[in-house]
C-alpha cells in the first residue's frame, strides 16, 4: 500500500496558518501549519469536527476569507506551480470557478433565489469562456442533463427544486468550466441518506469523467470511506493524522482518530454504551502548548504538553502527530 510519489502535485498546501483577529476575543488560531497535497485526479478527505478549521482551509485556498478578521499569517498554497497567495484579486477571479471551484454545504443559500437556475449556470460559463450567450445556454443545459435534471427546467427558480436537486444544480455550476480542482464542503450533509447516496454516486461518476481532483470536507467517516483515496484528519486547526484511506482506517494510530471511530455506534458488537471522547475541543483563541489533544487524551503525559508535537511518517505515506503513535492502534476487528 505505498503511495505513488507524484513529483508535481496539482495543489500543495505548505505550512498554512490562518488566524482570526478581533478585539473582543483576541487571536483565534483557526489553522496552524497545515500541509497537504492533492494529486491529479485524486479525492482527498478533510475530516474533523465543528470548528476544526476545515472550512477555513477551503476558504484560504480560494481566497474567500473575510479579511479582516481572517488573515493568512504563514504558508504557501501552490496550485499548478503558482503560489495563489501571491496573486492579485483580478488573477484570482480568473481561477475561481474556472480552475478551482467550490460546492457549499447548504444548496438553499448557495443559489440566487431571484435568478433562474439556468442563468446562474450560464453566468459562470460566460464569465470564463469566449462564447456567445446562446452557446453558453446550450452548454448550461448540457450541464443540467449531466447532473440528471432535464434541460427544459432551465428557466425555473431555486425554490421550485427539492434539496437534492438544488445540490445537483450547484454541482453543475461548479463543474461547468471543467475545473481541475473541486472543493466540496460537506456537499451532502443537508441531504437525506437516499438522496445523499444519489449525489455521491453522481459526484464519483463526474469525477472520473472529467478527471477532476477533489478536496472533500466532511465530518462523516462513512462518506470518506466511500469517496476518498486519501484522508487528512484535522483537530484544532492541525492535521493530526494523514495517509491513504486504508492506512488511516485499518491502521489508525492517533488517539483522536481512534476516539472518533470509537464514538460511532458499532454495528457488530453488543456494546451497552458508546465510547465518547471526554471533554471538548480547545478554544482556538486559547490553544494549549504542546499537543492540542492532550486534555482529552487518555494516554497523555507531561512530555505531551511540553513541546509542539511534530508530524512523523510512521509508514510510507502515513503521517501521525503523536510521539507515542506506535503504542496505539484501533481495535477494528
Amino acid at each position: 500500500m505505498t503511495e505513488i510519489k507524484n513529483e508535481n502535485p496539482l495543489l500543495e498546501v505548505k505550512d498554512l496558518s490562518v488566524y482570526y483577529v478581533s478585539k473582543e476575543i483576541g487571536t483565534c488560531k483557526a489553522v496552524n501549519e497545515v500541509s497537504f497535497t492533492v494529486n491529479k485526479g485524486e479525492t482527498i478527505g478533510l475530516v474533523g469536527e465543528t470548528g476544526a478549521g476545515k472550512t477555513t482551509i477551503a476558504y484560504s485556498i480560494l481566497q474567500l476569507l473575510q479579511t479582516p478578521p481572517g488573515k493568512v499569517v504563514n504558508g504557501e498554497i501552490i496550485f499548478n506551480g503558482k503560489n495563489l497567495l501571491d496573486l492579485s484579486e483580478r488573477d484570482m477571479q480568473k481561477i475561481r470557478g474556472k480552475e478551482i471551484s467550490m460546492i457549499f454545504q447548504d444548496p438553499m443559500t448557495a443559489l440566487n433565489p431571484i435568478e433562474t437556475v439556468g442563468d446562474q449556470i450560464r453566468e459562470v460559463i460566460l464569465l470564463h469562456n469566449k462564447i456567445t450567450p446562446v452557446e453558453a445556454k446550450v452548454k448550461a443545459q448540457e450541464m443540467m442533463e449531466m447532473v440528471g435534471i432535464p434541460g427544459e427546467r432551465y428557466d425555473e427558480y431555486a425554490h421550485e427544486f427539492s434539496g437534492g436537486m438544488k445540490q445537483r444544480i450547484v454541482i453543475a455550476m461548479a463543474l461547468a468550466c471543467s475545473p481541475e480542482l473541486l472543493i466540496a464542503d460537506e456537499p451532502t450533509t443537508a441531504l437525506d441518506v437516499t438522496i445523499q447516496a444519489q449525489v455521491l454516486d453522481m459526484m464519483n461518476d463526474l469525477r472520473e469523467k472529467y478527471d477532476t481532483s477533489v478536496i472533500l470536507i466532511t465530518h462523516d467517516l462513512g462518506v470518506v470511506a466511500e469517496m476518498c483515496s486519501r484522508v487528512a484528519v484535522i483537530y484544532a486547526g492541525q492535521v493530526v493524522e494523514m495517509g491513504d484511506k486504508y492506512q488511516v482506517f485499518n491502521n489508525t494510530r492517533h488517539p483522536y482518530t481512534i476516539g472518533l471511530f470509537d464514538s460511532l455506534p458499532s454495528v457488530n458488537t453488543n456494546q451497552k454504551r458508546l465510547k465518547p471522547i471526554k471533554g471538548l475541543m480547545p478554544d482556538p483563541a486559547r490553544l494549549p502548548d504542546g499537543c492540542k489533544f492532550a486534555e482529552r487524551c487518555d494516554h497523555c503525559c507531561d512530555a505531551c504538553r511540553s513541546h509542539e508535537i511534530p508530524m512523523r511518517e510512521i509508514e510510507p505515506g502515513h503521517f501521525v502527530r503523536c510521539d507515542f503513535a506506535e503504542n496505539f492502534r484501533r481495535n477494528n476487528s
Binding site: 441518506v193 464514538s263 460511532l264 454504551r273
Partner: protein, 317 residues
Amino acid sequence: MTDTILELQNLKKYFNVPAGELHAVDGVTVKIRKGETLGVVGESGCGKSTLGRVVLHLLDNTDGKIIYNGEDITKVDRKKLTELRHKQQLIFQDPFSSLNPRMTIYQQLAEPLLIRGEKRGAEMDKKIYDMMDTVGLARRLVNTYPHELDGGRRQRIGIGRALIMDPEFIVCDEPVSALDVSIQAQIINLLLDIQEKKQLTYIFITHDLSVVRFISTNIMVMYLGQMVEYASTEELFNHTYHPYTRALLSAVPIPDVNREVNRIHLQGEVTSPINPKKACRFASRCMYATDKCRNEEPELQEIAPGHVVRCHFPLMD
C-alpha cells in the same frame, strides 16, 4: 410481561393546505412498553416529528386513538392536559433555538418547576443543582447563558429541562443530530444512563440509522406519513421485508474501507404527501412495483411475530 405505557391506534394527522389535504401522519398503530425505546426513522418530511407532537398533544390528531397507561387520552380537557404535560416531555433537535437566550441555566431549569407551582428556595436550588449533576453540567455554569455554551452543553440543558419534571415518557426529536460525533456519543450515553435509572420510556425520532439501531428496542420506519415497517431492532436488521427499508439501510455510508459497497439505487425523490392517491406511496421509487402497487393501497400485515410491514410484495429472500 412489561406493561404497555403508550398505545397508538390508527393515528392520523392531516393538515389543510391550499393545495388540499396534507397527510403528515397516516395510520400509525404501535404499542410501547414501559422502559423501552421506540426508534422512529425516516427521511425529511415523512411525518416523524409530527407524530411526536401529536402524541404529546402539541398538535391535535385528525383520527385514531392515543391510549396512555390504559386510559384514552385522545381528547382531553385542559386540566388533564396539564397533568399529562408533567409526565410527558420533549427534547428538541436544536438546543439553541429551543432555549430562551435571555435565561441563565438556573432560570431555564427553574421555569418548569415554577410553572408547576413550586416555590423558590433552598429546595428548588437543590433540585436544580442535582439536575445539573445528573446531566453533567458543572455547577459553576449555573449563571451562564446559552450563547456562552457549546452545542453539547446546550443539549444537556434541554435534557435537564425535560428531566426536572420527573417524567415517565420522553419524545426525543433528533436530540443528537446537531452534535459532533464525539459529543453525540456523550449525550446518547447520558440518555441511556438516565433511562436505566428511572425506567423512562422514549420515542426516539432520528434519521440516523446507526444511532437508532444502537438505542432502540423496537424500530418503526416511516415513509410519507405511513408506518411501512415495524419490528424489534434485531429482527428489523436481520430480516428486512420492505423495499424502502432495504434501500434506506443500504444508503448509509459505512466507515469501513474493507467492505464492498452494495447499494440499492432509489430512483427519484419523495413524492408529495398532499392528497395521496390510493396506492402504495413508495411505488414510484420502488424497483419491484407492479400495477397492483400503483392502484391499490397496501395494508399493514404481520409477516412474522411482532414484525409488521406495509407492502403487497414483501421481500422474502
